[in-house]
Point group: C2
DNA sequence: CTGTTAGCGCTTTCAT
DNA sequence: ATGAAAGCGCTAACAG
């Protein structure tokens, strides 16, 4: 539990100035081989680690980028983070991941922490398209990219998905295979959700009546919704199509339906959204709208690094197109 | 994209010294209400965010703790992180999550970054029980707790699980329900794995011959192992029990078995380890050894905060006991 | 209650 | 090739 050793002590022990030690660290080639080796030996012997705070204060880039997601327990975000890390790691940047847990104040606090700890760049999946965080980021001058969201001002760089189109794909598919009733099940209020609903509503052409259950946000809430659906919507009797705008929730619903011995997809068919890893391996593989989640993270990370290198570069604006993936939860022939 | 404003400019604009501004931030009550309000107004108007690097350098705690896990794409670690965040959040600490991706150099680098950025504490699931990282942590003087690992020296604080007992539970259960052959499937080399294998081997009493497939580390590798098991171990003909020391892998294997129309649990039964969230909702709910994952994270976080408050406190040494959870993958009556 | 001053540990001119 | 000194933005005695 020795006390942290500083550059000054290294310097003293080596009979050189702090400046020389610093050079050994940042630009070794300009210091004489003999001194360099001597200093390195001392550094290693003491396990000296430069104080990043001091380095940062003095102007050195931190080589870390902050990533802010909305929840940990949703593979959608985890897979994005993985994509980011895959790009960052080989370029010798580290990723710092934080979760806002869908709480605006927490998001703001994280952003402030990130800004004030001078990370080199920030990737954020904002809770809202006019969140205070975005404003703070704009002001900070730190390169950043929004993920899964387009700012109100439509100005900030983003890597997002065409959610209107995704909603449309679902609507068209459901309209073609319509049952006696259709139920739309949605979760956290978020721009991406608004778009999905819009795309869906505008293109829903089936005769089957359409109902809407909002605010079903998690796996557990999906699971718990099933008894309600049975009681209120008579899904045991009426053949039903469920469009659930979040795979995580959809999989919770599947669990509930199975426990109630409701046949999927004959009695109730389900279409999800996101195509998280879990969707293809759940009890009933899930038909869903895919967003190429890994790509989102990778593209965002690459663009951010570019932005850090060349701050005056044109701001990236990426809209990833969705795909319909048909699996057993909606398709009896699978 | 305004330039970052500093405490000096706030002070000048308010006609006070930097010290007074600093006081408004850290100890508002001791500054006259009138001045305080004036200063606050200026701070808000400029969206001033103090530079954490400077604060840290000057000695203020950072109120953040670093968490290092081995992989992102394994719910075991994500659930631990969630538990940690649940404790930290209300106490106004932030969590910085990083993944070593099972690479020792990356782990070391992350630890160095964390140490040198003066986080208030560190939680780490080390790759190895004598990793360089543990040594660095000991030297750093920063409070830390090992997760899911007990250091070689047996000295460092930890929150871990009794993996020997877990292996034993699996062995006893399998011995009671033995089939024609048993296959042990293991993954990343890790202390917890050694213990599980030891507990298992010491208590395996079945007559069925035992084989071992090591180095099956991920969901995909599990999935890809199935054809090999069919070809080499004749699992289509011989009734087989699989003990897979990692749920993630076990679930990949289940996917493969189903695609090959091999009946679970009649033909092949499977016992996993970890009891991740996914285990109860996979295509075939998985029999597994539970470790109360959430508790690990929560306990570790609470103990770490205590350690930060009272550094001289006795170092925590927690060993969580495992439980056998029987589900359909091994039990035809479920 | 408020200002002055001296660092925190490092990098970076500018000299030598 | 190396050293001296200034400064990054903030906090914390110590005075007043």
């Amino acid at each position: 539990m020795m006390q942290k050793i500083t550059i000054a002590e290294i310097a003293k022990e080596a009979n050189v100035s702090k400046a020389t030690v610093s050079r050994v660290l940042s630009n070794p080639s300009i210091v004489q081989e003999k001194t360099r080796l001597r200093i390195l030996e001392i550094i290693n012997r003491h396990n000296y680690i430069p104080n990043q705070l001091a380095q940062g204060l003095a102007g050195t880039p931190t080589k870390t980028i902050g990533v802010v997601i909305d929840e940990l327990s949703n593979d959608f975000f985890i897979e994005i983070a993985e994509g980011v890390d895959q790009i960052l790691s080989p370029r010798d940047f580290s990723m710092q991941l934080s979760s806002s847990r869908w709480v605006q104040e927490k998001e703001t606090k994280i952003i402030k922490t990130l800004i004030s700890s001078r990370v080199d760049g920030i990737l954020i999946a904002p809770i809202s398209d006019n969140s205070e965080s975005i404003e703070l980021l704009e002001q900070s001058g730190i390169p950043f990219i929004l993920i899964n969201c387009i700012a109100r001002n439509n100005e900030s760089p983003y890597v997002s998905c065409n959610n209107i189109e995704g909603g449309k794909l679902a609507a068209e598919y459901i309209s073609r295979h319509s049952k006696e009733q259709t139920i739309l099940i949605t979760g956290f209020l978020h721009q991406s959700l608004d778009d999905r609903i819009k795309g869906f509503s505008d293109h829903y052409k089936a005769d089957a009546p359409l109902k809407h259950y909002p605010d079903v946000k998690t796996f557990d809430e999906g699971y718990n919704l099933v008894p309600i659906l049975i009681a209120r919507e008579k899904i045991r009797e009426k053949k039903t199509t469920l469009f659930v705008t979040n795979d995580n929730v959809a999989i919770g619903i599947i669990k509930g339906l199975r426990e109630n011995n409701i046949d999927i997809p004959q009695q109730v068919s389900i279409i999800g959204y996101d195509d998280i890893r879990l969707s293809s391996i759940s009890q009933i593989p899930l038909t869903t709208i895919s967003q190429s989640i890994r790509d989102i993270g990778k593209i965002a990370a690459m663009e951010l690094l570019d932005l850090i290198d060349q701050p005056d570069r044109e701001k990236p604006h990426f809209l990833i197109e969705p795909k319909l993936i048909i699996r057993h939860s909606s398709d009896p022939d699978d």
